[in-house]
């Protein structure tokens, strides 16, 4: 049965919250603001739960059309919402994690002057994110797509008096726009060739098409363009540069937007469009390659970062790379699985990091931390859970999803698997590095240096009272998320480990079509690679993770002075990596600077002023010059005038005689 689920309410509720806080928050008390924000985001979460509870009675996919949005000729776009198992998972993740982070933020932002603004933005983000998820056509999805970009712009630049924050926000928006450019073109291709943007219609018309094995056909180009969009949103090479800067935003924002939800929109979008990608192997390959490279590349950078949030940021980029690698090898469900677990543990890690920062009054440099284990135990333990999860050590969530991905990657091509594995090693290394540097050894910072490097982050009120555990309101979400990141992976225990991969089965109906497409790895594991092989690989990845832990322990716990020496010994490489391979500088040198200089010198001063305007003014002056000379006909001398008249008469006479004699 298709009971009306009022899906439109889910995005709308946060929007209402945003509106209320936006318009009246300034004048109302913080508690009121909190109430509004939590109630509305919570309501969205509640609705999501309600839907889940009547899941059995649902017939998915389920579409609800609200109204027509745009109509031009035969082309029409509706406000219509689309719910299937894929969007359901996303819905749960977003509303759930989102709600938790809302709660956390209450504590984290309490001291901030524009508390209400923060929650207005946060709710706004929820609205757009949920629209993105529940959209039933690409244009509606694009609303969410752009909207979350806006929200992240606002939230990254939340402390706009800090120039770095403002520029980071702008950078994020513009880089995203570059991605959106690709997205738009893809939409135009849809319109041109299929005349609609509605998922169901589109995929129906795509389904019968056969895969474009050779060359770059329509679907391939669409796929690549969509991937460009995804690169922007999900911070993949070459458009990942904005994400690390985005850490300028408040930590909850980093957790919600730049770890758990928004950055995964690209993954969601690609798997949403799997029907197209499956028929565009070349595009898929590109996705896989980009994913793999990003994963490795970001991980290497992460190894050298000392800012706790930067480390997490690069790890996010790297994990997203994993997901794309999964999508690229056609393991959409695995990608989504990792998306979910990643949402849990990365959200957790960020919040915990926030809690750490909070406790050391805004310090973010790990070199200024250490030995916090005892001082902030709750944070320590929750963070530990997250670290283990991301490192991929069983039975924590990250293990299952990552293992799934590696396994499927191997089936596609062993190189993916190799790189993935190495990345996994790096991941666990830099995560434990962070863990050791933060919580073990002696405290290296100055506790009394209360007011951290930015006035807002350091809740200056009671910051100076040394290191202290965060308030309950912040710890509860931590704990919940910790639980999730421990248990979250159990829904996807592969058959090899005696589980039966519920998530896989759950998503079956969404991605079932891939089974029909030839030349793609299918769900059922091939005969020649039985469970034993899979188990072997599992073992390898676990060992890798442990190696990472071991190295971190050796370098950052056993003899902490060693990293410095290593760094000195391979100076050139190290500095390059520390400076993130100078990518930002290169981009600036290649694109930004020439663009500005060129526009100023060539276009504006050159063309506009020195050519066009110069020509205009020149002609005007010319006219005046002519006039000035012409007036000398008026010598003021009667006889000259008579001369003109006589000559004129003579000419006229001559002309008339000529006419007459003709």
């Amino acid at each position: 049965m298709t009971s009306n689920l009022h899906l439109w309410l889910i995005p709308l509720l946060p929007l209402i919250g945003a509106a209320i806080n936006g318009f009246f928050g300034r004048r109302s008390s913080k508690s009121a603001v909190t109430a509004v924000a939590l109630v509305f985001s919570g309501a969205a979460f509640a609705m999501a739960l309600w839907i889940v509870f009547q899941f059995s009675s649902l017939t998915l996919p389920h579409t609800e059309t609200l109204a027509t949005w745009i109509q031009s000729g035969a082309f029409q776009v509706d406000f219509a919402f689309y719910l299937d198992r894929l969007s359901l998972i996303m819905l749960m993740v977003v509303t759930g994690v989102g709600f938790l982070i809302h709660i956390y933020s209450v504590g984290y932002m309490w001291e901030d002057a524009s508390f209400y603004r923060f929650f207005a933005y946060l709710n706004l983000f929820m609205f757009f994110m949920l629209t993105l998820i529940l959209a039933s056509n690409y244009l509606l999805m694009f609303i969410g797509w752009e909207g979350v970009g806006l929200a992240s712009y606002l939230l990254i630049g939340f402390w706009f008096t800090k120039d770095s924050a403002a520029s980071a926000g702008k950078k994020a928006f513009i880089v995203n726009r570059i991605g959106d450019f690709g997205f738009l073109i893809a939409l135009f291709l849809f319109i041109k060739h299929f005349g609609t943007l509605n998922f169901e219609q589109l995929f129906q018309s795509v389904a019968p098409m056969s895969p474009e094995t050779a060359g770059c056909g329509l679907l391939t180009s669409i796929g690549l363009l969509l991937m460009l969009g995804a690169c922007g949103k999900s911070a993949q090479i070459p458009l990942y540069v904005w994400l690390p800067d985005a850490m300028e935003g408040p930590t909850p924002v980093s957790a919600l937007i730049h770890a758990a939800t928004m950055v995964t929109a690209g993954v969601y979008m690609v798997s949403r469009s799997h029907t197209i990608f499956e028929r565009a192997p070349m595009a898929l390959t590109v996705v896989a390659i980009i994913g793999t490279l990003t994963a490795l590349f970001a991980a290497t950078i992460g190894v050298t970062q000392t800012d706790i949030k930067k480390v997490l940021a690069y790890s996010t980029v790297s994990q997203l790379g994993y997901m794309f690698m999964a999508l690229g090898v056609g393991a959409f469900s695995a990608g989504i699985f990792h998306l979910m677990t990643h949402a849990f543990f990365k959200g957790l890690l960020f919040l915990a990091a926030g809690s750490v920062i909070h406790s050391v009054s805004g310090e973010q440099d790990m070199r200024q931390m250490g030995g916090l284990r005892t001082k902030i135990p709750w944070t320590f333990w929750t963070m530990t859970a997250g670290t283990i999860a991301i490192a991929g050590i069983p039975p924590f969530a990250g293990f299952f999803s990552k293992d799934e991905i590696l396994w499927r990657a191997y089936q596609a091509h062993w190189i993916y698997w190799a790189v993935g594995l190495f990345t996994a090693f790096l991941t666990s290394f830099y995560m434990f590095r962070l863990w050791f540097m933060t919580f073990f050894g002696e405290y290296r910072g100055k506790a009394e240096d209360a007011h951290g490097h930015d006035a807002h982050d350091s809740h200056g009120g009671h910051g100076h009272s040394g290191i202290h555990e965060s308030p309950k309101v912040m710890l509860i979400p931590l704990v919940l998320l910790a639980i999730l990141s421990i248990s979250g992976g159990w829904v996807g225990v592969p058959a090899a480990l005696g589980g039966h991969n519920e998530i896989e089965k759950f998503l079956e109906p969404v991605f079932h079509s891939e089974a029909t497409v030839s030349g793609q790895p299918t769900e059922a594991p091939e005969p020649q690679t039985g469970h034993s092989t899979e188990l072997l690989f599992t073992g390898i990845s676990v060992v890798t993770a442990l190696c990472g832990f071991g190295l971190a322990w050796f370098l950052y716990y056993k003899n902490p002075e060693m990293p410095a020496r290593i760094a000195v010994s391979l100076n050139g490489l190290y500095t390059t990596v520390v400076h993130k391979y100078y990518i930002d500088e290169i981009y600036a040198a290649i694109f930004v600077t020439p663009l500005l200089r060129g526009s100023t010198e060539i276009l504006w001063h050159g063309v506009d002023q020195n050519i066009i305007d110069a020509a205009l003014d020149g002609s005007a002056d010319g006219a005046l010059e002519v006039s000035d000379t012409a007036r000398h006909m008026q010598s003021g001398n009667i006889r000259s005038y008579a001369g003109w008249i006589a000559a004129g008469a003579a000419v006229v006479v001559g002309y008339m005689i000529w006419i007459g004699t003709r």
Partner: protein
């Protein structure tokens, strides 16, 4: 002498306006010595005003009984009555604006008003005369009176200079015209325009006729300031008293344009097209180009009048049924706006016409908004902005030209009117957008000037919003010329 040879009452009706005007002119001459000097200006002014009004009435009376008169010397039809109305209206407005001017400039009123009226006689006669010699005499009447009027600011050297320039060059050109008449007479054996028309209608046209037309065009072209016979205009207009300029830049021109219409269309003079084409293009261009850098408003308007003569000439190059109404409408609207503009200039100039440069006009929009606004409207009309007579005038002319496939000439004309916009705009710019460092004093508007401005303003706007009636009247009067 048998009564058959005596002129009938009808004949006198044919020249009724001329009679009325001359009578009043003579009355003024007679009154001048007897009235008290201090009040002479206003008294005589009133007499002149009454005279011109009476002449309008006379024209109306005359228009009811059209036809030939005085043994085919004059022809009264809707064509000539149109110009009668126009010329006498101009005279009225000029008289109105002169009331105050006379007082300010301390000019003897007697001869002034008489001369204006007598000049009007000549012009009116010109527009209804169909006999070249009569036209010549009428032309001389109007010219000589304007020669004198131009020199009326006796204490100003430039005034007498403009007078002598106008006089010498004028008679020089007139003698060209006269020679043309002579050759025309030699070619056709007649000086009556209709007869010439018949004679020339039958080919082959004697070569003398061509030369005659050329010389006549030279003479008349001088009077309407058409290139290349335009050189005198700026000097004379700059030196002459403003009301006189208002008068002589509109009324005689209207009359002479009427004569040109008769010559070209009624006497169907040969070789019209390219002669006009070149003269028109030259006038427009030289006029506008010359005006661009002028700083003296009167001189600028003089150049602009050259340009406008060019626009009007364009209409001579086309088929009569399109051209004649266009010319008539243009002369009318040009009269309205130009008289208005010079009325403002004459008032603003102050004693001795001291304030005539653009700088003096700076800030007028503040010091005297009404005066500035009125002048603005006249200038807009001169540019040819909609809702003003000037717009429709230009429009009809160029419509006619386009109708005759004179695309080139049309484009030249349009571009010219666009370029011309610059210098009119400059005055507006100075009035509204510049702050004057030395405020030119503006005396309150006297009722005479006020009336004059109101009339010309009303005319400009009327022609700009409801041009239909005037245009119909004009096109009805084609019949009088085309036999």
């Amino acid at each position: 002498m048998n009564p058959a040879q005596m002129p009938h009452a009808a004949d006198y009706i044919r020249i009724l306006p001329e009679l009325v005007l001359s009578v009043f002119g003579i009355i003024i001459m007679l009154l001048d010595p007897v009235v008290d000097k201090r009040s002479s200006q206003r008294t005589l002014g009133f007499v002149a005003l009454i005279g011109s009004l009476a002449a309008i009435a006379a024209t109306y009376y005359q228009s009811c009984s059209t036809g030939l008169g005085f043994w085919n010397m004059v022809q009264v039809d809707s064509f000539s009555t149109f110009f009668h109305y126009l010329i006498i209206a101009i005279t009225t407005v000029v008289i109105l604006m002169s009331f105050d001017y006379m007082k300010v400039q301390e000019i003897r009123a007697g001869e002034y008003y008489a001369l204006i009226l007598f000049g009007a006689v000549g012009m009116v006669l010109m527009s209804s005369a169909v006999e070249l010699v009569l036209i010549f005499i009428a032309l001389e009447i109007s010219s000589i009176s304007t020669y004198i009027l131009a020199g009326f600011r006796r204490r100003a050297a430039i005034s007498s200079e403009s007078s002598v320039k106008y006089f010498l060059l004028g008679s020089f050109a007139t003698s060209f015209f006269l020679y043309g008449v002579a050759l025309m007479f030699g070619a056709t054996g007649s000086t009556r325009i209709p007869d010439i028309g018949h004679a020339l209608a039958t080919a082959p046209i004697p070569l003398l006729a061509f030369v005659g037309v050329a010389l006549m065009f030279g003479g008349l072209g001088f009077k309407v300031a058409a290139a290349p016979f335009h050189v005198w205009t700026p000097d004379v207009y700059e030196g002459a008293p403003s009301p006189v300029v208002a008068f002589m830049s509109t009324a005689p021109k209207a009359a002479v344009f009427a004569v040109l219409l008769r010559i070209f269309f009624e006497a169907n003079a040969p070789g019209r097209l390219w002669l006009i084409w070149i003269a028109a293009a030259l006038s427009m261009t030289l006029g506008n180009i010359g005006a661009l850098v002028q700083t003296n408003v009167k001189r600028m308007l003089a150049y602009s009048s050259i340009a406008h003569a060019g626009y009007i000439l364009v209409a001579y190059a086309v088929a009569p049924q399109d051209g004649i109404p266009a010319v008539m409408f243009y002369t009318a609207s040009y009269a309205a706006m130009n008289v208005g503009a010079f009325a403002v200039a004459s008032h603003f100039g102050g004693a001795g016409e001291r304030y005539v440069t653009l700088e003096d006009y700076a800030g007028l929009g503040r010091t005297s908004p009404v005066l500035a606004a009125t002048l603005t409207i006249f200038l807009l009309s001169l540019i040819g902005i909609p809702m003003t007579g000037g717009f429709f005038a230009k429009f009809y002319v160029f419509k006619a030209a386009m109708g005759a496939n004179l695309v080139g000439l049309t484009i030249i004309g349009l571009l010219n009117s666009a370029v011309g916009a610059y210098y009119y705009l400059r005055i507006i710019v100075f009035m509204y957008m510049k702050e004057s460092e030395k405020e030119a004093p503006v005396s309150p508007i006297p009722w005479g000037l006020g009336a004059a401005l109101t009339i010309s303003l009303a005319a400009t706007l009327y022609l700009g919003l409801l041009p239909g009636r005037v245009l119909e009247y004009a096109s009805r009067s084609i019949a009088g010329l085309l036999h």
